[in-house]
């Protein structure tokens, strides 16, 4: 075959690496308000374009424009801003605790606050999120007690999870927040199963599944889409595309110049939309639409939230090793908190002063809570040494009873 050239493996490269200029020139976003809002019973086939474009509501001047802008109330906007700001301040405080050695580990969602907060505000009591570790906003938007979160992070005597889980791996059934798994992707198919149960029982509860751009490559992503395609249960399939999976850019999950993650849904007959995840009103409106669609029996919706992971992957990560330090500043969609703040000011229901005051108030508030929490112990202090034998099974079997006794004897010596 002399006329065939030797092949080479194509290995994707991000547009820039440390030392390079950040380069988002390949990102093209339509102007705010330009994408239509389909009826909730729309066939997936009729909104193919919605997976290729980007739904945006806030324009350059901070105005909310277009068909997705209508339904949103001042109340929701103010709640949203407060929750987003709380999330951001909370993240900063927890990072500080980690630096002080009070917790071993933390994960921030900086730059992505609008997604979880906006989504949660669009759900109803009784719905269930199957979150990843970067959706703390789901809890904060519902006024879940920050104490619980901090006690969990500190693995102290008041930790609702009794020190068993890595910090931030919350579980809060009453708040529609499924136990976070350290194993990527697994919860995506569980959300589909939960939604199937809702349909089997004749209920109208909605499941909301969460996954990152990187983890869309995992097998259970496919399991989820196949099952959602077949049984069409009331589930929202969220993909948080924050461009990075630890050190690996989204190209290694198959995002390409010509495809979006949202388009994965089409091959499964699933309606899909792609949304500016840093645009709170857009997040809220699209989430509301998808939840309503699910609750009315029109089945699953996949939503790709386009955003940027401003923070390091976790406290164990140093992004300056694999991407330009300035990349997050160059992110063309801006900062979600700032954009919402500007919109509220433009809308006439908020001011710089109010914002500063709120930030100060939240900072103080969270500092106080954190302080109280640390009094119940840090870094596992206060958690029971031999607690691990509990909740392995509903009833402790004989061999665990014996092992627990041995564990206790060792501790009492």
């Amino acid at each position: 075959m002399p006329d065939y050239q030797p092949l080479r493996l194509r290995v994707p490269e991000p547009t820039s690496r440390p030392g390079d200029q950040p380069d988002f020139s390949a990102f093209h976003f339509p102007v705010a308000g330009s994408v239509s809002k389909p009826p909730i019973d729309v066939d997936f086939n009729d909104i193919i374009e919605h997976a290729m474009t980007t739904i945006r509501v806030l324009n350059k001047d901070g105005e909310a424009v277009g068909p997705w802008a209508d339904s949103i109330s001042d109340d929701i906007l103010l709640k949203g801003l407060r929750a987003m700001l709380t999330t951001r301040v909370f993240d900063e405080r927890m990072m500080a605790l980690q630096r002080q050695g009070k917790t071993s580990f933390y994960m921030k969602c900086t730059g992505e606050e609008a997604i979880a907060v906006g989504h949660q505000l669009a759900l109803q009591q009784g719905d269930m999120n199957f979150p990843t570790y970067r959706q703390q906003g789901l809890l904060i938007a519902q006024d879940y007690p920050l104490e619980n979160m901090i006690n969990q992070i500190l693995s102290n005597a008041h930790d609702p999870l009794k020190g068993r889980q890595l910090p931030i791996m919350y579980s809060a059934k009453d708040h529609g927040f499924f136990s976070i798994s350290g194993n990527l992707g697994t919860q995506y198919i569980q959300a589909v199963g939960w939604a199937m149960a809702s349909a089997i029982k004749g209920d109208t509860r909605v499941a909301s599944a969460w996954i990152g751009d990187g983890a869309t490559a995992s097998n259970d992503f496919h399991a989820a889409l196949v099952n959602a395609s077949v049984y069409r249960p009331p589930v929202i399939l969220n993909i948080v595309n924050n461009q990075w999976a630890i050190s690996t850019f989204s190209g290694f999950a198959g995002e390409g110049r010509d495809t979006t993650f949202a388009e994965r849904a089409h091959g499964y007959s699933i309606a899909a939309l792609r949304v500016d995840g840093n645009d709170f009103p857009a997040v809220y409106a699209v989430s509301k639409w998808a939840a309503e669609r699910a609750r009315r029996g029109y089945g699953p919706t996949l939503i790709e939230w386009v955003t940027y992971r401003v923070a390091p992957h976790s406290t164990a990560d140093d992004p300056s090793r694999y991407r330009p330090k300035e990349e997050s500043d160059a992110w063309p969609m801006g900062d979600p908190v700032l954009r919402l703040k500007n919109h509220l000011i433009q809308r006439g229901i908020w001011s710089e002063q109010q914002h500063q005051d709120l930030e100060g108030e939240l900072t103080q508030h969270i500092r106080d809570i954190a302080k109280t929490c640390t009094e119940h112990g840090i870094l596992g202090e206060g958690s029971k040494a031999c607690d691990m034998f509990e909740d392995v099974y509903e009833t402790m079997p004989a061999h665990l009873v014996a092992q627990k006794q041995e564990c206790e004897a060792l501790n009492n010596d």
């Binding site: 009794k162 068993r164 194993n183 198919i189 199937m196 089997i200 989820a224 099952n227 509903e394």
Partner: protein, 354 residues
């Protein structure tokens, strides 16, 4: 000589019918679905068709496709969906078509079903039952013959069961479905239609007329974690489960050895009391299973038995098990521990002197 201890006897007067293990398993699901509308059943080919082994036949017609349905060919999805449903409050009883195909679901079983209660401190639970046919002897080659039970006994948070007869199968499956923890329920497929003593060249036996094929109608349970003495004896203890219960009994008869055969039924939780009583009585012990030897469940049994019965043991515990090879197709009867192989092991155990 074989003692037919069929566990907790249902109350007198209950109607009893002759059932194959397949019928008993189906009946268990039927009973559970009738009593609790949260019980749902699904898996590959289990809906309209009723399962490649017919274990779910007629259930879809009876309970509608809302509660009994086919699944996409994705075992991870089957268990993942089940975990989600269980978190909702249902009690899924799912089928993995062959135990050889359970590996794609391994992550969902180990990392999710088994961990959920613990990692959420009881906030969420996963009461799911995973039924799957295991074992060889049907000329099925290496992908229709495996016995992977020890891959599950290693996992904290799971219960692992393997019945050996219709009576136990029904009572244990009902107990499993009603249990609030995840259960992996292995069904030795070579026993589906009759007890099998390893003599593959003799006519197949059926459960019809067999005492353990006499299955009470309606609800009853066989408690999880209770072994059954399948044959009483004083010379040597055989600790086994599944198909090997019959092979062991047959081998003992053929060799004229007064062996006590324990059918564990439940591997985790394990009935150490029954095992200990037997081995302390006989002082000699054979651990027997069809699964591959190395790190099979027999390893755990042997380790535990010598921990508990060391000073009663007169000779070393022996293990007889499938060889450390893939399950071969044409040579399956050389892989499957035969009555002869088991008999020779029993003989050497009773004859060995210190």
């Amino acid at each position: 000589m074989t003692k037919l201890d069929i566990g907790e006897l249902p109350e007198a007067g209950r109607a009893i019918s002759d059932m194959s293990m397949i019928e008993a398993i189906r009946d268990a699901m039927d009973v559970c679905m009738g009593r609790d509308e949260n019980v749902v059943v699904f898996g590959e080919d289990v809906g309209y068709f009723g399962g490649v082994f017919r274990c779910t036949a007629d259930l879809q017609e009876k309970y509608s496709s809302q509660r009994v349905f086919d699944s996409p060919i994705n075992e991870s999805g089957i268990v993942g969906v089940g975990v989600g449903m269980a978190a909702y409050g249902l009690r899924p009883c799912v089928e993995v078509q062959f135990a050889d195909y359970i590996y794609p679901a391994y992550d969902q079983i180990v990392s999710e079903a088994a961990r959920l209660r613990s990692r959420s401190a009881g906030d969420f639970t996963a009461p799911i039952t995973i039924r799957t046919p295991c074992g060889g002897g049907i000329f099925g080659g290496q992908t229709h013959s495996q016995s992977p039970e020890s891959l599950f006994t290693h996992v904290a948070g799971l219960k692992t069961l393997m019945p050996s007869n219709p009576y136990d199968a029904k009572g244990m499956l009902i107990a499993a479905i009603e249990d609030n923890d995840p259960v992996v329920f292995f069904e030795p497929k070579r026993l589906y239609n009759g007890p099998f003593d390893g003599h593959h060249d003799r006519p197949a036996q059926s459960w019809k007329g067999h005492p353990l094929g006499a299955v009470p109608e309606g609800h009853y349970t066989v408690p999880l974690g209770k072994a059954r003495i399948a044959r009483e004896g004083a010379a040597v203890s055989v600790i086994t489960y599944g198909t090997m219960v019959y092979v062991a009994t047959q081998a003992a008869e053929e060799m004229g050895i007064d062996a006590e055969v324990i059918d564990l039924r439940s591997l985790n939780p394990l009935d150490m009391d029954t095992i200990r009583d037997s081995v302390q009585k006989t002082g000699r012990c054979l651990v027997l299973h069809e699964a591959t030897l190395t790190s099979g469940f027999g390893a755990e049994l042997s380790a535990k038995i010598q921990e508990h019965c060391f000073y009663h043991l007169e000779v070393p515990i022996k293990r007889v098990a499938g060889w450390d090879t893939p399950y071969p197709h044409a040579q399956e009867w050389h892989y499957f521990p035969s009555p002869k192989r088991v008999g020779l092991a029993l003989q050497s155990l009773v004859e060995e002197t210190v």
